[in-house]
Symmetry: C2
Subunit: 254 residues, 2 copies
């Protein structure tokens, strides 16, 4: 399949590498910034472009992997292509593309991508959607080449999933960061807490989180919670987070 | 070393098994509930007791692994023993024991223990403290038998560490639970989000969390955040958590 990739951010980069590794043919990489386009194009043996007017009109698949608020603009520039046009966004409706082209789709990888870490696509959940059944089949075959976890999910569910991912990924990572800041203030190193973070995530691989909750809030241990709030006396922001989450823990049915 | 274990909860159970695996001699297991004492005593080839007056007065080490608010009561019952008396609590001062016996210590394993999951002690951070240098050396040798991560940490730092652990373990697990509840409400399965949770924790094994934060809040993507708050319209509790943590993410220096 000849693929044009629009975008050069984290998702575009990891996806491009995974496609090339499965012998898919990335023919062009577009970025507003030609240097960024070139860096990714080199790794995928593609042509780098920085004008949407230069996009190859004869490709089989166009992957739009740009900021959510730029998807529609890119889609409008692809209104004359005959290939399948998809985006990789968790929160954007398929209509952002379907308004401009009959063959529209979504290909949302549910994972957190950073420049600093390679990630294998083998087990990444890939959430696909298409405006017609033939294109859904095309996306399914492509997705199954990359991962053993392919889900056909409509826009509403995809948006719910994206929000759940904020709770399961972005917020926990931020709590790790708050823990780190507090450790530094107390002359301790983040290393000491890494095994705990690993085990906490590992525990929910085979169990539901509601069943393995630990800590003072779930035990109703007010004495320890009061000691903790005392330690945070000079940090009302952290006190507020501590109280908000502890209160929420007590409300969850076990 | 002859060891008396006071307690039969999660920490006591996992610690007892780890000690026996390293050929330490657990001679007695105490619990108020004789059945609980017996269950753990069987696994460690020890005597089960449910009266503190029956505690063997000649052991080398007494490990108090009970609820924080019961530690002092147990310590007072051990005031005539000559062996070393330690507790396993993150938040309790060593004085809870030192008030009753000259040879006092702390042995705090920084990990989350559940009945549902075995856990290896090999890399668990063990935080030790003792009221004299000889006993600190005894605890260090014992700890190093169990784990390659042994830290000498005073009470103040240990309490800070315990609080950091709430942020890095208890709160993230609760956010996994909230994600699960939201997935269920939307007809989705927790399985779909497990790879994301695993990768989020894995990322901070080699990086600091501040450096790998992703998601709408750190990007300042107000449009996506507003969409998310809209999805949570009927759940003010979740909206509040979403806003509190998103605001906090924006405050963290990157």
């Amino acid at each position: 399949m000849n693929i044009v990739l629009i975008g050069s951010g984290n998702v575009a980069t990891h996806l491009a590498k995974a496609l090339v590794a499965k012998a898919e043919n990335v023919v062009q990489v577009y970025s507003q910034n030609l240097l960024n386009a070139s860096l990714l194009a080199q790794q995928t043996n593609a042509e780098a472009i920085n004008q949407l007017s230069e996009v190859d009109q004869t490709a089989d698949l166009y992957i739009i992997s740009v900021r959510d608020d730029a998807i529609e603009h890119v889609a409008s520039a692809l209104k004359n292509v005959e290939g399948l046009v998809i985006h990789t966004s968790g929160t954007t409706d398929i209509s952002a593309i379907k308004n401009y082209t009959a063959r529209a789709g979504v290909f949302y990888p549910l994972q957190t991508f950073s420049k600093v870490k390679e990630v294998s696509f083998d087990h990444i959940p890939l959430c696909i959607e298409a405006s017609n059944i033939n294109d859904l089949e095309i996306l399914k075959q492509l997705a199954e080449k990359l991962s053993d976890q392919v889900y056909e999910i409509d826009g509403e569910k995809r948006k719910a999933l994206h929000l759940a991912a904020v709770f399961a990924c972005n917020f926990p990572n931020h709590l790790y960061a708050l823990a780190n800041q507090f450790l530094i203030e107390n002359g301790l190193d983040f290393n000491i807490i890494r095994p705990l973070i690993a085990e906490t995530a590992d525990k929910v691989m085979d169990n539901l989180p509601e069943k393995v909750q630990t800590g003072p809030a779930v035990r109703g241990d007010e004495s320890t919670m009061n000691k903790h709030l005392g330690l945070l006396e000079s940090q009302p922001e952290l006190q507020n987070i501590y109280q908000t989450l502890s209160k929420s823990i007590k409300l969850i049915p076990k």
